[in-house]
């Protein structure tokens, strides 16, 4: 949510205080929109179109199994790929900052070259103090070797109490040490203030009927993105149909537009045919202002392990998106924004594993090129689901995405020995290709609390 700021600050400062960041985000958006528009023209498909009645009926009938459809999607392409976004971030420069020196050990050797303030390990240790060595953690102290009396039983008991008292603030504090699997769904809902009231269900049904009535171009993009990502995933393929339902409704949800007041992004506008430039005929397109789904489909999928009612699943996802995940897809100076996360990752690595960082840079394997895709997807699709959920517990608990950067650095630290021996980017990628066996909490603990700084 928006950081506190001066009462007289203009609205664009609330979105993003740094002018050069705003400008960069604006150019990026123009580029994406251009790509979308040219796809429309090429394919001669309107951005939005009312569905004929028989098509509406058909869609309603197969609402629960859209995954079985095989429309011709060959001509659709994702509006952009993560590496395009990374290129843009790499080229960010602060025009007020003169750094004529060549990159060296005295300054930053990584890909991100903007002077944002990021935390160092002592500060992170303070911020993430509940992850310390002398406190119990789920993901470590609930393993088979540890008798449950030591930590787990009591922790579960406390969790039940927190839920019984419906104390949202206490829940947020509690999940810093991890959620017991049986309590997680309710705890997250409590923290996100989702209660699935009848009016919420009605709202979801309303969105669903919008989907049935109108066909948007982005629907095909969503479809294609799901097919490319979740359908092939070992864990998430089961929920393919739920993903369509959630994302199609999401694209119609104009309440999402509210988050643009504190996001550096601005929703693209489109004009009713023939009224180009006339503001009264401007509409946000798509209704929720989001175009690219590739990066966040995988942030819906893990939630399917927790919530099986579509309307609740939808609300949880929406809230997670407007609180956290939107920051991964827009250019801003926010500490949880993707730019800061990239810089934090690179700084941690360069400071604490300088030999590794230098080696990888020398062989043309800048570490961020590998870790970017992990962070931009909040590790979804890379970690085993139970580990991912333990990680997201901490995102909710600390109300910050910084842990993603810390984990990325911890992964490199863990595989440092193998990485020192590689001689190419491809080989480095191979060493880090499979994260599915990693246990995130021990890695984080070792990196933050057990490494000599």
């Amino acid at each position: 949510y928006p950081s506190p700021c001066h009462p007289a600050a203009p609205p664009e400062h609330i979105k993003e205080p740094l002018a050069y960041m705003r400008k960069a985000q604006g150019s990026w958006e123009k580029r994406i929109l251009k790509s979308l528009n040219s796809m429309c023209t090429e394919l001669n498909i309107p951005l939005a179109q009312k569905r004929p009645v028989n098509e509406q009926k058909e869609l309603l009938n197969k609402w629960n199994e859209m995954g079985t459809d095989e429309p011709d999607l060959r001509l659709f392409r994702p509006v952009y790929a993560p590496k395009d976004f990374l290129e843009v971030l790499m080229n960010l420069r602060n025009p007020n900052y003169e750094n004529g020196e060549q990159p060296s050990f005295r300054n930053h050797l990584g890909l991100i070259q903007v002077p944002l303030k990021v935390k160092d390990i002592p500060e992170l240790k303070e911020d993430f103090s509940e992850l310390g060595l002398n406190l119990g953690q789920l993901g470590i102290d609930d393993s088979a070797q540890v008798p449950p009396e030591f930590f787990e039983n009591e922790h579960v008991h406390v969790g039940q109490k927190v839920l019984a008292e419906q104390d949202s603030a206490a829940a947020q504090q509690y999940v810093r040490q991890g959620c017991p699997t049986a309590l997680r769904a309710d705890l997250w809902a409590l923290i996100l203030n989702i209660s699935n009231q009848p009016e919420d269900i009605l709202y979801y049904e309303q969105l669903k009927s919008n989907v049935i009535q109108h066909n948007l171009l982005v629907d095909s993009l969503i479809y294609k993105d799901v097919k490319l990502t979740a359908s092939n995933d070992d864990y998430y393929f089961v929920f393919e149909d739920y993903l369509y339902q959630v994302l199609l409704c999401f694209s119609r949800d104009t309440s999402i537009l509210e988050h643009f007041t504190y996001s550096s992004a601005t929703p693209p506008k489109s004009y009713i045919q023939g009224k180009l430039g006339v503001e009264e005929y401007a509409v946000f397109y798509p209704p929720n202002g989001m175009i690219n789904y590739n990066s966040f489909i995988l942030s819906v999928a893990p939630l399917c392990f927790l919530y099986h009612e579509p309307s609740k699943l939808y609300q949880i996802f929406r809230e997670m998106y407007v609180r956290f995940f939107f920051r991964l897809h827009s250019i801003s100076s926010h500490p949880s924004g993707i730019v800061s996360l990239c810089l934090l990752f690179e700084t941690l690595l360069q400071t604490h594993l300088p030999q590794l960082f230098y080696h990888l840079r020398e062989i043309g394997a800048q570490p961020l090129r590998i870790s970017f895709k992990w962070m931009v997807r909040a590790f979804s699709g890379y970690l085993a689901t139970d580990q991912l959920l333990l990680l997201w517990d901490r995102i909710l608990g600390y109300n910050s995405l910084e842990i993603l950067a810390v984990l990325a650095a911890a992964v490199f630290a863990f595989r440092a020995v193998n990485l020192m021996e590689v001689t190419s980017l491809a080989a480095a990628e191979a060493v880090l290709a499979d994260l599915s066996t990693l246990k995130v909490m021990p890695l984080l603990q070792i990196f933050l609390f057990a490494t000599v700084t």
Binding site: N64, E65, G67, T68, E70, D142, S143, A144, Q145, P147, P148, E152, N153, P180, T181, A182, R184, A185, S231, N232, D233, D234, Y235, F237, V238, F239, E240, D241, Y242, C304, F305, L306, Y307, H308, T385, D386, L389
Partner: protein
């Protein structure tokens, strides 16, 4: 006089890489069937010949095979049901509390196989049952086939006219076991995940009928949305989950092959349904496996040269009750995806580690009780010796001082053997 060359000599008539790679990595030597061999991984046809009265031969102490001679007591659909029914009746006769029934006459603890009849032998009994619930659906399965072949669903008596003994229009249906069918009540309320039906395939290793269970079973998912509507009865892709059939469906995805791991299932169920009911479900699954093995133990030829790795197929209904559908003697060793190959490779690896200890030439007088380091992904499901020395054959207590539910689930992760509790 047999020359002990030192290395295990193996034969197989199943040319699968997951097998052969495992033999080769142990440095074992491939020989032909007519030579001296120590280890023979056979197909079920071959085991019939080895133990048949006419063509069979005696196995010596340094030879082991991967099937029990009369495994079909468990692995043929009709015999499995017969044996379980007999077992229940026996327990009832001796007044065992296991055979307790509820007010509707259903077994409380031993009702884990869907109502089943043999056709044509039990045709009239079946009709009586069918008429009690005329809107029910039943599944017809040929006794002697596998991989989903010959299976179909019915919801009208007319669809199985030809199995009626009284039918004048039918030609005489041969009583040979090959054409016999079983008909079972179809579970029309399976647990669905993501709207899809799935079944659970678990591997159970039995050596001398002291069962071990493989932890890494996997769930096979149907790729088509489950619908109980009657018009879909003919759509085999919806109702049957055998990989062999699913592979030909339009939607079959070759990257993950429609399979989930049991730990995914556990995570999903714990997250959406809670820990207690999930633990109860998995306890019940263990119970089913052990009871089914105990049911056939008395009739099983417990030949000391034999071990067997069964594939148990279990379906979970929406009340989280597991049902035993069938047991396979020769679970498929074909791999449909890379993950599948790894799973099956590890399965064979762990199996061989237990069946042929230390990779050395076997001696049939061996103890058959492997040390726990060797179990790999198996966990000890039931140890008859240990149970009897406890003094209670029926109740296996958890280790004292530890809450059973939690420990049961964790031990699975560490691979340590744990005795699960039952009611």
């Amino acid at each position: 006089l047999r020359i002990m060359a030192g290395k295990v000599k193996w034969v197989t008539d199943i040319e699968k890489s997951v097998l052969i790679n495992n033999f080769e990595k142990r440095g074992w030597i491939q020989v032909a069937e007519n030579e001296d061999w120590n280890f023979y991984w056979m197909s079920v046809q071959t085991i019939r010949n080895v133990f048949s009265v006419e063509t069979g031969y005696r196995l010596s102490d340094d030879q082991i095979v991967n099937h029990f001679p009369n495994h079909y007591e468990l692995t043929r659909k009709d015999l499995m049901v017969k044996n379980i029914k007999r077992y229940r009746k026996e327990l009832e006769k001796e007044g065992s509390p296991l055979a307790e029934k509820d007010e509707n006459g259903k077994y409380i603890y031993l009702d884990f196989v869907p109502v089943t009849f043999m056709l044509p032998a039990d045709y009239n009994l079946f009709v009586e049952e069918f008429r009690k619930n005329p809107s029910s659906t039943w599944i017809m399965k040929p006794c002697g086939k596998a991989q989903g072949k010959g299976i179909f669903l019915i919801n009208k008596l007319s669809q199985i006219k030809k199995w009626s003994r009284d039918s004048k229009t039918s030609s005489f249906v041969s009583q040979s076991s090959k054409e016999a069918y079983v008909i079972s009540l179809y579970i029309n309320n399976p647990l669905l995940i993501g709207g899809k039906k799935f079944d659970l395939r678990l591997y159970v290793l039995v050596s001398t009928y002291r069962p071990l269970r493989y932890k890494l079973g996997f769930c096979r998912f149907c790729t088509v949305k489950y619908t109980p509507s009657t018009s879909e009865l003919d759509n085999m892709f919806v109702h049957l989950t055998n990989v062999a059939i699913q592979k030909h469906g339009d939607d079959y995805n070759h990257i993950h092959g429609g399979k989930w791991t049991v730990s995914n299932l556990r995570l999903y169920l714990e997250s959406t349904r809670g820990k207690e009911v999930t633990n109860k479900l998995f306890d019940e699954i263990h119970w089913i496996i052990v009871q089914s093995l105990k049911a056939v133990a008395p009739v099983m030829n417990n030949d000391k040269h034999c071990f067997e790795c069964y594939g148990y197929d279990i379906i979970i209904d929406d009340k989280l009750k597991p049902w035993l559908i069938e047991v396979n003697a020769s679970p498929s060793l074909t791999s449909s995806t890379a993950n599948d190959r790894i799973l099956k490779y590890n399965l064979i690896n762990d199996t061989l580690n237990i069946a042929v200890p230390n990779g050395e030439i076997p001696d049939c007088k061996w103890n058959k009780s492997p040390p726990k380091e060797v179990l790999g992904n198996y966990e000890v499901l039931y140890d008859e010796e240990m149970a009897q020395s406890d003094g209670t054959e029926r109740e296996l207590r958890a280790r004292p001082g530890q809450p059973t539910g939690l420990k049961g689930s964790r031990a699975r992760d560490s691979g340590k053997p744990v005795l699960t509790t039952w009611k």
